[in-house]
């Protein structure tokens, strides 16, 4: 088992390297580049642009820029071989060890390998600071959505499978088809019209907290307020969560409840279920202990593969509901051509996706002893 996990992790490494190249490549190929934001500014002269490029290392060949961004090259060492490749000296860190090794060994601090995503062009803050600040609201939203999504999908799917062709099953089928065809953002807009429009104004439509009741979420003042009135603060966040969470999970529940249903129906038709029934075990035990546990095996993998959709779903949901998370950060960075922030967000999301796939594979190997590894 340990061997299998190590092998899967090693297999993920080249994929991650490939992802850094693709992410870097897409943004690099974009017309204009990081100086495009100054293109129409009369107060920025051509010399200023050159100085900007020099200060940010943008005058170096692309492989050198990539290598420094990645953290495998020392930014203090200039010079190239064959016109584009960094000199071998650049790969040696300040302590004499290879530059890409952790800071403790190599003494290097630059690049994503050392946790340095650069500085946001928009705000001048460190990108890692912005991402960490936006991570908490997204974790709250996506975490709650994830739990509810799995619980509802299993509940609906299993019930539909047990009472096949019943009214409930048919209703679940219709819900699955329509829910699966529904764009997330449209659902969000319609929910806002329904529950916080001029007619029935009972739920908040934007933000994570009510601004006139508490200091801005995430600030020190907020946590002071939270310490004093935890119940009121939690209730407030909870009220703000209802619409976004619902928006985020409907599509996933629709798809996965069908998947659970199909898997459960297959499990219920297996010989061991008939054997269990023939032994005289109560129906409840057969359904939940024999059939359900086996039916959930493929569901585990499927859900692992769908975790990334939580992030993409979060982009839209956070935009509609003005939720101050990673999704909004992405949109703001995309609008403002904020390269370092965008690369940071893309890279972290891709990393989480690879991690989710890895966990799904390992979880599958754990729950299904028949898997060879």
């Amino acid at each position: 088992m340990t061997k299998y996990i190590i092998r899967r992790v090693l297999q993920a490494l080249p994929v991650l390297l490939g992802i850094t190249i693709v992410v870097y490549g897409i943004l690099l190929a974009a017309p204009g580049g990081p100086t495009a934001r100054f293109a129409n500014n009369p107060r920025v002269t051509a010399e200023d642009r050159e100085a900007f490029k020099k200060a940010w290392g943008l005058d170096q060949p692309i492989p050198v820029q990539y290598c420094r961004w990645l953290g495998a090259c020392n930014p203090e060492v200039d010079g190239v071989v064959l016109g584009v490749i960094p000199t071998p000296a650049a790969f040696i860190g300040p302590n004499g060890w290879p530059h890409f090794l952790p800071q403790g060994l190599s003494g290097a601090t630059n690049g994503v390998l050392h946790g340095d995503f650069g500085v946001s062009i928009d705000t001048g803050e460190k990108v890692s600071t912005r991402i960490v600040r936006a991570a908490l609201p997204t974790l709250i939203l996506a975490g709650l959505a994830f739990l509810l999504w799995i619980a509802m999908a299993i509940l609906i799917g299993v019930n539909a499978a047990i009472r096949r062709y019943s009214v409930f099953d048919q209703a679940a089928t219709v819900f699955a088809y329509v829910g699966y065809a529904m764009p997330t953002f449209w659902l969000g807009i319609m929910l806002i019209f329904l529950f916080s429009g001029p007619g029935l104004n009972i739920l908040p439509s934007s933000g994570i907290t009510t601004t006139r009741l508490s200091p801005p979420f995430g600030s020190d003042a907020y946590w002071l307020y939270f310490g004093k009135q935890p119940v009121a603060a939690l209730v407030d966040i909870g009220r703000h969560l209802i619409l976004p969470v619902f928006t985020l999970i409907v599509v996933n529940i629709a798809g996965d409840s069908r998947f659970v249903r199909a898997s459960m129906i297959e499990a219920l038709g297996q010989d061991y279920v008939r054997t269990a029934k023939a032994k005289g075990l109560p129906g409840r035990v057969v359904t939940f202990k024999h059939a359900l546990r086996n039916a959930l095996l493929p569901v585990v993998t499927n859900i692992g593969l769908e975790i990334p959709f939580l992030f993409t779903g979060a982009i839209v949901t956070e935009t509609i509901f003005a939720w101050p998370g990673i999704g909004r950060l992405t949109i703001d960075a995309t609008r403002g051509f904020d390269y370092p922030t965008l690369m940071g967000v893309l890279l972290i999301t891709a990393l989480l996706t690879v991690l989710a796939n890895l966990l799904a594979d390992i979880a599958y190997a754990v729950v299904d002893p028949r898997i060879r590894y």
Binding site: I19, F185, I189, F193, T312, V316, T349
Partner: protein, 320 residues
């Protein structure tokens, strides 16, 4: 005595009926044999009620997309006269079945009809690009195997590990400039990975079959084997996957345009109509976002039904 006779007659009659049924059955078989693969598929597809409904809906939508903007009674790019402006738009009425928008005072029905043209064009064209790239990459990887296969599939791994909607979003912002053609290309270029995996696995199994071996033995060229011998046998699953890709791309386009990075709002798509509607969200004009959203749902439902029908009809294991 008469009882015996009766029994004998009954037996004879039964035998005769059985013989005729057998004959008829044989007859039926003969007509079946003379149908080609697509006629057989259509025969099965026809029995799938939802798929037929889906086909009808999609045909209707295509018709609307093609002739709708031409016969629409309102001038699309007019400037509203000051005396007819209602800042919040107007709810559905007899003149404006889907209501009027706020701002430019457009007829929502006409917006949706014009949007159908752009959205469906993007959905189908980007699917075509994706299928062509995916089939090409998949057949190369599956047929050649070895090093080429390894390199291509690692590229697919990387692309599939990227949150692809993020990438499409960023690419549309940086390269798209609201241009429909560029958006179509971007969507095509980032949606071929699933198809290529599928095609590769099909090629891996089909290339081991006897008829491919026979073709190779008589000296048929690789290109001819790929296009004439293997690809036609792999076409059914590709068609099913392609139909689902249309639905995925229509939703993805709506997503990107909704966020304001997709098609320029002078060409209405269902996504950017919704995007405009969101800015008027506090005014309570529900008819503005409702109808474009319903159009998306209807289209995706229809395409998914057709996909289901195709899957049943084209699967050789399901005999109808």
């Amino acid at each position: 005595m008469s009882q015996h006779l009766n029994q004998a007659v009954t037996e004879l009659a039964t035998a005769e009926v059985e013989r005729r049924v057998e004959e008829a059955g044989a007859d039926y078989e003969v007509t079946l044999e003379s149908l080609n693969q697509w006629q057989l598929a259509w025969r099965k597809f026809r029995r799938h009620r939802l798929a037929l409904i889906g086909l009808g809906i999609l045909a209707g939508l295509l018709l609307v997309a093609i002739v709708g903007p031409v016969i629409a009674p309102f001038e699309f790019n007019r400037v509203p006269k000051p005396d007819v402006i209602a800042p919040n738009g107007r709810p559905p009425s007899i003149q404006h079945l889907f209501g009027e928008t706020g701002g430019l005072q457009r007829d929502v029905l006409q917006l949706v009809v014009n949007g159908a043209r752009t959205s469906l064009t993007i959905g189908f064209s980007s699917m075509l690009i994706g299928v062509v790239i995916g089939t090409f990459v998949g057949s190369l990887a599956g047929y050649l195997g070895g090093f080429v296969d390894n390199v291509l599939m690692r590229i697919v791994d990387v692309m599939l590990s990227l949150p692809i909607l993020f990438v499409i979003l960023v690419a549309s912002r940086f390269f798209g400039n609201g241009n429909v053609i560029l958006i179509i290309i971007i969507f095509g270029v980032f949606s071929w990975m699933g198809i290529s995996r599928l095609v590769r696995s099909l090629f891996l199994s089909i290339r081991e079959r006897e008829f491919v071996e026979a073709a190779r033995a008589v000296g048929v060229s690789d290109r001819r084997i790929i296009f004439r011998h293997i690809l036609p046998n792999a076409i059914s699953p590709i068609v099913v996957a392609a139909s689902l890709l249309v639905a995925a791309n229509i939703i993805a386009e709506a997503f990107v345009s909704f966020l304001g990075f997709g098609v320029n709002p002078i060409y209405p798509t269902w996504g950017n109509i919704l995007s405009n509607a969101l800015t008027f969200i506090s005014r309570g004009n529900w008819w503005w976002p409702l109808f474009p959203g319903l159009a998306i749902i209807l289209t995706v439902l229809a395409v998914n039904f057709i996909g289901d029908g195709l899957r049943d009809a084209l699967d050789p294991r399901s005999r109808a």
